[in-house]
């Protein structure tokens, strides 16, 4: 990389291994600084000053500079990012510090992208992506490009505005267009959300947070912040397996997962192997023998028998202690000896205690995760913790180049905590951590020989001091595996080896005996022959032999011989091998949701039993502490406030997952809701006046496909010849003009010109109407002259779209009462299940601007709106007119038919028992009406306000922001509680169910 020409004072041309902090010493992205496009063209930044740390002279010197701006140089062969030092010189940025990378990755990707696009203005997304893939390895480049770009929108806007070449780029133009359309923007944000929940623990940089990202996502973002998710062996993050038990630890499950840190790992061979375990318990939790965090020796933690070690009561701790060890730590001075022994006996009796980790070792203060300075640095090897501000200088965040100072503290591994090793533990340079022999698993051997203390100790399995160390670089992998095998089965010392191998022998013989005994029919010598890997000869010979044997005992069924078994097993194995579960899930995932609707992760495995138990216990313990006169701070050490938030979130997640079991069992559905047939007829009665001869009527989500049929019936009777087109994901019973197709995949040229199109009806709502918005947006691409919609109120109104549509009328109460039903479901009397919304979704008719006049005329003629009403085009008046419409809505209630329906919903319900005709939502819809609309619509309940919705005023709903359908896509295709498509039987239940209106 060329360095920029600078004169005067001695400043570094470029820095490597850099990072930026603000005045509070928090890592920040340089992109928050003012952006200098040219010398006189400076954009305001969120931040005026930042501090650059980095290395110069090839890492020989470190540098610390105050910087006040940054710029992007696109004219070189490589994109250059420079920052402006306070002395007005530009410093070129080379490589960021590894741990800082996540903060600036997105801006660097954007820079790279702009640079490429500038040179290739014709480039389409695919080419850009493939270019980026080259410079960013796929692991680093996990997020969709659009998301990256969206987070740096101001930068892109400026770049396109100021740079002639960039302005030519088709891709950026299209991108900005889409972004300017708020709905698509929301789509981008949604991608954003889902990605934020990536299973990698590296949290996304703060600067990526958008204004639009609402409370819900933030909650979900920090949902894991209470518990650390770094491997207990090597203290690094990544793909970890969580123990369900009380220890609340995580482990790298495979050698591959922990390869970076030479982690010895749990030794699973592949993901399939450990994913098959429904609930993983580490050996400590399995045998209820945990290590004391002070002395490191194992003790029984089984409360029902004689427990030796006791867990700290703090919700997020998970460490165990001998009563004596922890009592001495809590009362270290001689003078407190009496207190210590008192505490010791209390703990031994089962009294809860908080361990020393929850108080600063220096100032004895508590932790406050939200205050940067009061965040804790917790030693991974012993119960010692410091505030950030109290952290001794000797515990350094950076190692020195000459190796005299080792890095002992890491800032970004634990959520809102510092991971550190205190001075007691010498760091081994080759692995970057202290010895890793800190973990002691009770091994199976132990159970069989109860021979006194010493032998017991030996039969414990200790983790490798050096992990799977790099010395074996040449042939690392096989070596690693071998080593692991060794540790797993035998352990390290020869004595231990001898011990365990004898036991091993007994086990094998024991296991060998068992089948022989149980299978007494079979002569045992045959069993001996029956070893796997038979050659063909034997396979062919033996059957005839067995046939001969059969002669003797004609009446008994032929015995299963070994060959047959192996053959069958082989056959089944082949069948299983030919099945690729990942591919299968991927395919299903694609099929079972609307493409555009990004399914999210399933019930996350981070909700472990241990965590739930500990949290619940901590809540009680904290209360007790308060009752006993403890301070709030003490209580918070036991149960920090976030634990309460966490509990609420967990419950929500679990309740969605468990919905089928918590709520009614007679419900069957893909989660669809169909509009009742009488309601549809009403809609048809109104709508047909607006339809003209030769129009095409499109139901973009037709469900049972009745709407089109009624339309046809009606229009035919009035002599209008029309075409019909119906789309849905699930084939309905009635396939009249039906095409099984995702609405979003219908291209614009598949349908006639917009002036011949009447489109709409009841799309799936999606969470916060997100799916409904997307349906509408796709519909708008066809520019239909009329759109008829049943959508929740929080749907974005069509008069706020880029090319606004005019509201002809909006009917709020038409779909109140039991207007919907759940197809395929019956109640106890085998009657179809009805459904209603607390706040009914309005029915609305929208007209393309150039057709408005005509449609209003029709509406007035047929009394759908009153004469005096006009729908003007000007924005200012539009709001007024909407209010007018709403005020006048009541006149529609005079329709006699409606009244009848409202009076006798039950009668209607019975009447349509045999008629499953209606329009629908598609099945990804469970979250739609049931989860979202009762909540949201009631929140938007007040009529006096004009219904003007934009993303900001939609209530950040407390309801779960995930679609239970997602569970169809979790790892186990037939997993339990496949909670998709499983709405609560009636949204009315919602009021009692814990999702009341706020």
């Amino acid at each position: 990389m060329a360095s920029s020409d600078e004169e005067g004072e001695i400043v570094p041309d470029f820095v490597t291994n850099y990072h930026f902090v603000n005045s509070h010493n928090t890592l920040i992205s340089f992109s928050l600084l003012p952006l200098h496009w040219s010398d006189h063209d400076v954009e305001n930044g969120d931040l005026q000053v930042a501090f650059l740390h980095g290395n110069i002279d090839g890492g020989l010197q470190s540098v610390y500079k105050e910087v006040i701006g940054w710029k992007l140089e696109l004219s070189y062969a490589q994109p250059h990012v420079c920052v402006l030092s306070k002395g007005k010189t530009w410093i070129n940025l080379h490589k960021p510090r590894k741990s800082y990378e996540c903060h600036v990755k997105s801006v660097l990707i954007v820079a790279d992208c702009l640079h490429f696009v500038r040179r290739n203005p014709q480039a389409v997304q695919k080419e850009i992506l493939s270019h980026l893939m080259k410079s960013w390895s796929s692991g680093e480049f996990r997020e969709p490009l659009e998301k990256c770009l969206a987070t740096h929108l101001p930068l892109i806007r400026i770049a396109v505005a100021r740079d002639k070449d960039l302005a030519k780029s088709e891709y950026l133009k299209a991108f900005l267009m889409e972004v300017e359309n708020p709905v698509t923007r929301e789509a981008l944000c949604e991608d954003n959300q889902t990605l934020k929940k990536s299973k990698f623990i590296v949290p996304d940089g703060e600067e990526e947070e958008d204004d639009d990202v609402d409370v819900d996502d933030e909650i979900d973002d920090d949902s894991d912040e209470l518990f650390d998710s770094v491997c207990a062996f090597c203290d690094n993050g990544g793909d970890v397996l969580l123990c369900e038990g009380k220890c609340m630890r995580s482990f790298h499950p495979t050698v591959d997962a922990g390869l970076d840190t030479c982690c010895e790992s749990l030794g699973f061979e592949n993901a399939a192997q450990y994913e098959a375990v429904p609930t993983y318990l580490c050996d400590n939790c399995k045998h209820q023998k945990h290590q004391c965090f002070v002395c490191g020796s194992l003790g029984s933690s089984d409360k029902s028998s004689s427990a030796e070690v006791f867990p700290c009561v703090s919700a997020t701790c998970g460490h165990f202690y001998h009563p004596e060890c922890v009592a001495n730590l809590l009362y270290p001075s001689e003078a407190d000896g009496a207190l210590a022994s008192q505490l010791k006996s209390q703990i031994a009796e089962g009294k809860s205690f908080t361990c020393p980790i929850h108080k600063c070792h220096r100032c004895q203060g508590g932790e406050n995760k939200d205050d940067h300075e009061l965040q804790f640095a917790v030693c991974r090897r012993c119960p010692k913790a410091y505030h950030r501000k109290c952290l001794p200088k000797t515990i350094s965040f950076e190692g020195s180049a000459d190796g005299t100072i080792q890095q002992r503290a890491w800032d970004d591994l634990l959520p809102k905590r510092i991971l550190m090793y205190c001075r007691k533990h010498p760091i081994i340079p080759s692995i970057g951590t202290p010895k890793r022999d800190h973990i002691l698993f009770p091994s199976l051997v132990r159970k069989r020989n109860q021979e006194g203390r010493i032998t017991e100790m030996m039969s414990e399995r200790r983790s490798n001091a050096l992990g799977s160390f790099r010395v074996v670089e040449t042939e690392r992998k096989p070596k690693v595996v071998e080593r692991q095998f060794k540790t797993v089965t035998y352990g390290d010392t020869t004595l231990e080896k001898r011990k365990s191998s004898t036991t091993y022998k007994t086990t094998t013989s024991f296991e060998n005996n068992k089948p022989i005994r149980t299978n007494s029919e079979r002569p045992s010598n045959i069993l001996r022959i029956k070893l796997p890997n038979k050659d063909m000869h034997r396979e062919q010979r033996l059957p005839s032999k067995s046939v001969k044997k059969m002669e003797v005992d004609v009446d008994s069924p032929p015995k299963l011989d070994a060959e047959m078994k192996t053959k069958i097993l082989k056959l089944m194995e082949d069948a299983t091998a030919s099945f690729d579960p990942e591919e299968f899930i991927k395919e299903k995932k694609m099929k079972c949701t609307h493409k555009i609707y990004v399914p999210q992760h399933g019930l996350d495995k981070t909700i472990t039993m241990g965590k739930v138990e500990a949290s619940v216990k901590a809540v009680k313990a904290a209360l007790k502490k308060l009752d006993d006169g403890g301070s709030v701070e003490d209580a918070k050490a036991v149960c920090e406030p976030n634990v309460l938030h966490q509990l609420v979130r967990w419950k929500k997640k679990l309740s969605v997952f468990l919905a089928p079991f918590l709520v009614g069992t007679r419900y069957t559905s893909f989660g669809r809701h169909f509009t009742k047939v009488d309601k549809l007829k009403e809609i048809v009665d109104r709508l047909h006046w607006y339809v003209e001869d030769g129009d095409t009527i499109v139901d973009f989500c037709c469900g049972s496909n009745d709407f089109s049929c009624f339309m046809k019936e009606k229009l035919d009777s009035t002599g209008k010849k029309c075409k019909y087109k119906n789309y849905d994901l699930i084939t309905p019973k009635n396939t009249f003009n039906f095409e099984k197709r995702d609405w979003f995949s219908v291209p614009v040229d598949a349908l006639p010109d917009g002036s011949r199109l009447v489109m709409g009806l009841n799309p799936p709502f999606g969470v916060k109407a997100s799916l409904a918005n997307k349906f509408i947006d796709h519909a708008l691409k066809f520019k239909p002259k009329l759109i008829i919609l049943i959508v929740p109120q929080e749907t974005k109104r069509l008069d706020y779209k880029r090319s606004p549509y005019d509201l002809i009328w909006e009917e709020h109460d038409m779909l109140s009462g039991k207007s919907f039903y759940l197809p395929g479901s019956v109640d106890k009397q085998d009657q179809p299940l009805d459904d209603w919304n607390i706040k009914p979704p309005p029915l609305s008719l929208w007209s393309r601007a150039d057709w408005t006049e005509k449609h209003i005329e029709v509406a007035q003629k047929h009394g759908h709106i009153e004469q005096r009403q006009t729908v003007p085009h000007q924005e200012a008046e539009r709001v007024v007119s909407n209010e007018l419409i709403e005020e006048n809505l009541d006149c529609f209630n005079d329709l006699p038919m409606l009244d009848e329906v409202l009076k006798e919903p039950d009668a209607t319900q019975r009447n349509c028992e045999n008629m499953y005709m209606t329009t629908s939502h598609t099945f990804s819809d469970m979250a739609s009406m049931d989860l979202s609309s009762p909540v949201n619509s009631s929140s938007n309940n007040s009529r006096s306000e004009p219904v003007r919705l934009n993303p900001l005023c939609i209530q950040p709903g407390p309801h779960p922001s995930y679609d239970p359908l997602q569970y169809a896509n979790t790892s186990d295709p037939y997993g339990p509680g496949v909670g998709f498509g499983y709405p609560y039987p009636q949204s009315g239940h919602y009021a009692n169910y814990g999702y009341p209106a706020c």
Binding site: P558, A635, C639, V978
Partner: protein, 196 residues
């Protein structure tokens, strides 16, 4: 030999029928009929014993209006898992097989006559071979069934275990919320929870 007309009609019926298993024992005829009715017209529902699933799982034959509808439903249910009556796994649909019908008519109008065969008969060896082969097949089928059953049971156990633990977690949290502990602590901390 031409199959009997009765059999031809029966074969038509088989084509229109889907076999559904992984059904909960709570599923009644009405429930199943309604569930399938959203995709087509159900003509008949018949519960049959299931051979490939573990305890507490039912199966049924559902006859549709047309073979096309039946095919579409199988396709639909394969694409998007359908849950009926709180069974912890989606129901499974496949084409019905002739052998699934207990009341199936004979394919050919002929009678089978049994007789003893003398070992000296020239076809004796052949007959014996056929007999052995049949027995062997039966044994093989039995073994495969056993394996499949084991697998099913394992899955079933695994699923119910996961379900149970998840439910236990839920109950734990629910308990501590229900007895007001969370609310009290919340008040002490002076924080508000987003727990609606």
């Amino acid at each position: 030999m031409e199959p009997s007309t009765e059999y031809v009609a029966f074969e038509e019926k088989v084509k229109k029928t889907i076999y559904i298993d992984n059904l909960s024992p709570q599923v009644t005829k009405a429930v199943l009929e309604n569930a399938i009715n959203q995709f087509g017209n159900v003509k008949d529902v018949q519960f049959i014993p299931t051979y490939f699933a573990s305890c507490g799982v039912c199966a049924a034959l559902v006859e549709m209006e047309s073979a096309k509808q039946a095919e579409e439903i199988i396709c639909e249910m394969g694409d998007s898992p359908l849950m009926i009556s709180g069974m912890p796994r989606p129901v499974r649909a496949q084409k019905a097989q002739v052998e699934m019908f207990e009341d199936r008519p004979k394919k050919h109008q002929r009678t089978i006559v049994c007789r003893w065969m003398d070992p000296s008969h020239r076809n004796f060896e052949l007959a014996r071979k056929i007999k052995d082969l049949t027995k062997k097949h039966a044994a093989e089928v039995q073994y495969i069934m056993k394996l499949q059953l084991e697998e099913e049971e394992k899955l079933h156990k695994q699923q119910s275990e996961t379900l149970k633990t998840n439910y236990k977690k839920y109950e734990l949290i629910d308990g501590v919320q229900a007895d007001g502990n969370v609310n009290r602590l919340k008040a002490e901390y002076g924080i508000t929870l987003n727990d609606h």
